[in-house]
């Protein structure tokens, strides 16, 4: 586990000017991803997980400003790079899979054209060699008749197939890191599991780092090595998947886990947990714990100033709370 991190992020912030002030959708986010491992970033809609991923790629909307203490890919600092240098890294050493397969491919060009373009932008390969790699990758992502697929247009493919094309596209240059931003949210439930297992298999085979952004904790339990839980722009808890699921420390994480029924454990007819209240506005500055207004354990100490991370149940487990670690029996894993 002492492998060198492929991606290091420290104190990542995103600020967006809005009419009412400045929106801070991403605040002091930091994590590491090791080669061949998967980090899940989990949180509800609007918690800043997608903007975090766009900030890593430097693909934020023009008005959004990114600052960070450190952002390094395989030891190389990304913060000082010009847009031109960053473009050399995007799609090459670091690639991204988006949430909406239906609209993420250009309707005017064939699948083959868009795949070949991804490799030839960064490598001096012939069109033939790039097409061969595209066919090989389309087979890898489980598409039949890969040779003919290259000549098809996106509108001739289903959502699941388009997402497979997006995955193949992300792999064209054999990247060190893939960021998958809710890759299955827009897909049929039956297809979701296939795509996720495909991603996990490919990530092992190609030994890339993978950041999987999702709001589905079940997915996380099955596929990910480490988990970062985000709430209102901040990481509130981070640890191995086992630590997060068996000994969750932050009240928000525990609240989230209470919302999931566990097959064979949750009694029929029993009430599932809910978290009362709504997500706070992230306009302006907000001292103290972002979760305080919804937290059953909140006290004055929670609102007085920034909350530091505490060590959790084991190595690499930390959480942002004033409370000490809750005692009691470990929880069962939600996924069998």
């Amino acid at each position: 586990m002492a492998a060198a991190p492929i991606l290091e992020v420290e104190s990542l912030n995103v600020a967006i000017p809005v009419p009412a002030g400045t929106l801070h959708p991403v605040q002091e986010v930091g994590f590491r991803v090791t080669r061949g491992h998967t980090l899940a970033i989990v949180g509800e809609s609007g918690c800043g997980k997608s903007l975090t991923s766009l900030a890593l790629m430097n693909l934020l909307p023009p008005r959004a400003a990114r600052t960070a203490g450190r952002l390094a890919l395989d030891g190389q600092d990304l913060l000082g790079l010009s847009e031109r240098e960053m473009a050399d890294i995007r799609g090459n050493r670091m690639s991204m899979i988006f949430q909406e397969p239906m609209t993420s491919l250009n309707p005017a060009y064939t699948v083959g054209d868009q795949l070949v373009e991804a490799e030839r932008r960064h490598r001096r390969t012939s069109v033939t060699a790039a097409r061969d790699r595209a066919v090989w990758l389309l087979e890898k992502v489980g598409m039949t008749g890969a040779g003919e697929r290259l000549r098809q247009y996106p509108h001739q493919l289903s959502g699941g197939l388009r997402q497979r094309v997006m995955i193949a596209m992300a792999l064209m240059c054999d990247p060190d890191l893939i960021i998958a931003d809710e890759p299955t949210t827009a897909l049929d439930v039956t297809i979701q599991a296939q795509i996720l297992h495909l991603l996990a298999d490919l990530q092992r085979e190609f030994e890339t780092g993978l950041i999987l952004i999702t709001h589905d904790l079940g997915v996380v339990a099955r596929l990910c090595d480490r988990v970062a839980v985000m709430y209102a722009g901040q990481i509130v808890e981070e640890g191995t998947a086992r630590q997060i699921f068996r000994t969750p420390a932050h009240p928000y994480t525990r609240g989230l886990l209470d919302c999931i029924p566990i097959p064979g454990k949750t009694r029929r007819g029993a009430h599932l947990g809910t978290i009362p209240g709504i997500v706070p506005s992230l306009v302006g500055s907000m001292p103290g714990c972002h979760f305080a207004d919804r937290c059953p354990h909140a006290s004055g100490a929670c609102r007085s100033g920034p909350i530091a991370f505490r060590d959790g149940a084991g190595p690499g487990h930390r959480y942002r709370c004033v409370l000490s670690l809750p005692s009691g029996p470990a929880r069962p894993d939600p996924a069998p």
Binding site: M57, I89, G91, F98, T103, P107, E117, R121, Y153
Partner: protein, 305 residues
């Protein structure tokens, strides 16, 4: 693709037929054509002879079919005024009008598409505002007034260009600008709107996530999708320009179809006017058809329909 082509072709032919019916009925719009031809001093017998001579005594559907049958073969009858076959006169003048139409369209597209793209890349910037001003002014200015202003400055004060005639390329510069400027605002605004919409699309983000250079993102991935509505609009605007060329050709005394149309109206030369309307309409229909084909090539999704 073939099915789409045949479908569009079928529609084009139907439109052409409809236009031909309307054009044909023009003869009867101003009352009895035989009466109009014979003049005020004609006797009852003269009128009857003229009616028989031109075949106006036959049932109207028969007249239409025989007129259409001859028109399809390029025979539009004789001019009442010039004593020449209408077709000969028209095909003599047609190249001039087509040349003017294409140079005007080329000028309009060369000005409006780049400006629209620039305005979309930097919305609300100086370029965008300047382009908007240009569009508003263009939309508000009557084309005959703009043509006369051009003439006054470029032709008379500065004497850079000839003000009338159609003998050399220099004669076409001012008319092309005057005619093309008229369609610039609409094309420019649509290009801007299309580019703004396309630049916000997910596939543009994908293209950037691949690390593609901004120029490639802009011209390969964005522009192709943004110009699809522009192509359709350009075809429609070209139709307006053919109409507008009547005014512009008359002002600059260019010997084209528009000028001929104006002359024929003055002379009440019905067969000539009929033929000009029909030829211009068919021209317009062909252009719309070509625009559809171009769009099908640009956007593979259209081909399926």
């Amino acid at each position: 693709m073939l099915a789409y082509l045949l479908k569009r072709l079928g529609i084009a032919i139907l439109v052409a037929l409809t236009v031909s019916v309307v054009t044909f009925s023009m003869i009867y719009l101003s009352g009895d054509p035989a009466l109009a031809l014979a003049g005020e001093s004609a006797t009852e017998e003269d009128i009857e002879n003229i009616r028989r001579f031109y075949g106006y005594d036959r049932p109207i559907p028969v007249q239409y079919l025989s007129w259409l049958g001859r028109a399809v073969q390029g025979d539009f009858g004789h001019s009442h005024y010039l004593r020449e076959p209408v077709a000969t006169v028209i095909f003599e003048r047609l190249p001039t009008t087509m040349l003017l139409g294409f140079t005007a369209l080329a000028f309009a597209l060369a000005l409006s598409v780049p400006l629209g793209v620039l305005a979309a890349i930097r919305p609300n910037s100086l370029v965008d505002r300047a382009a908007l001003t240009l569009a508003v002014v263009g939309q508000a200015m009557p084309s005959f007034w703009f043509a006369l202003t051009l003439m006054l400055w470029l032709g008379i004060y500065w004497q850079l260009l000839p003000i009338t005639g159609s003998s050399s390329w220099a004669n076409f510069v001012m008319p092309s600008i005057a005619l093309g400027y008229y369609v610039t605002p609409a094309v420019m605004r649509l290009t801007r709107a299309g580019m703004l919409e396309v630049l916000a699309a997910d596939y543009i983000r994908t293209a950037r996530a691949k690390g593609l250079r901004p120029m490639k993102v802009l011209f390969k991935h964005a522009l192709r999708n943004a110009v699809i509505p522009v192509v359709s609009l350009a075809a429609v605007q070209f139709g307006f320009m053919l109409g507008g060329s009547i005014v512009i050709e008359t002002i600059f005394a260019i010997n084209g179809l528009g000028f001929l149309a104006w002359e024929s109206i003055q002379r009440a030369d019905l067969p000539m006017m009929q033929a000009i309307v029909l030829v211009l309409s068919v021209f317009y229909i062909v252009l719309t058809f070509l625009a559809d084909m171009l769009n099908a090539w640009l956007d593979p999704r259209i081909r399926v329909v």
